[in-house]
Amino acid sequence: MTSNVTIRIQDADFDVSSEIAALTASRTDIGAVVTFSGICRGGQENLSGSGDATTALTLEHYPGMAEAEIARHAEEAMTRWPLTGVTIVHRVGRILPGENIMVVLTASAHRQAAFQAAEFLMDYLKAHAPFWKREETAGGSSWIAAKTDDDDAAARWDKN
């Protein structure tokens, strides 16, 4: 069986349903696809806590390392759970409220593996993949601080 792992980092927006269709195309061994779709949130409750609405996010990444880290985590997910496919697309550059930031798709014969692998991948990507978000509001722009919750969430998957 081919590994069926797709990883892309790109400026352009993407279509989640097209990604699902590509993952499941001409396969009959997939019984479950779990989608985590990360979307740029506007509204008053912004990430840096200044009280101004988020007007845009700009994502920076470490080219080369970002791809390598995502690939390493995708391969680990494939070894830890009986997955039949993984797709991870992460955007960089300027992203407006309502637009996609990223998507993780995990495919398996049954739902438990797909749910767990998607959560594992998200926890690891949040804490370890070299991406940084800068938030724009009416009052200016600032780098978003990392949450220690994200480190804790990633650490729970560590094997001793």
């Binding site: 990360g38 994502l59 920076e60 990444h61 470490y62 080369g64 390392m65 970002a66 390598a68 880290e69 992460h90 930031i101 990223m102 998200m122 990507l125 949040k126 804490a127 370890h128 993949a129 070299p130 991406f131 940084w132 978000k133 800068r134 780098w143 978003i144 601080a145 990392a146 994200d150 480190d151």
Partner: protein, 83 residues
């Protein structure tokens, strides 16, 4: 060796990458942060709280006590906020 900076570390230093030749006494990632901090106010500002700085050698996360000998590219950046 090549050193690269990202996010607010890059902004504070004012450059995305440079080539440096630290003295032999600079053995570890932590030593390199200390040495870079002495190169000017912009470096001292970027590295003012060393424990929040994350590092990678040749695209792999490393800890402050990792030895830098043989590294081609060392990156310094803030805690990551992707996803």
């Amino acid at each position: 060796m090549k050193v690269v900076y990202f996010a607010w570390v890059r902004e504070r230093i004012g450059k995305a990458e440079e080539t440096v030749e630290p003295p032999a006494a600079v053995r570890t990632v932590g030593d390199l942060i200390g040495w870079l901090s002495t190169r000017g106010d912009e470096y001292a500002y970027a590295f003012e709280t060393p424990k929040v700085i994350r590092a990678a050698i040749d695209h792999t996360h490393v800890r402050p006590d990792t030895v830098i000998a043989g590294a081609r590219e060392i990156a310094f950046f803030p805690p990551m906020t992707g996803g």
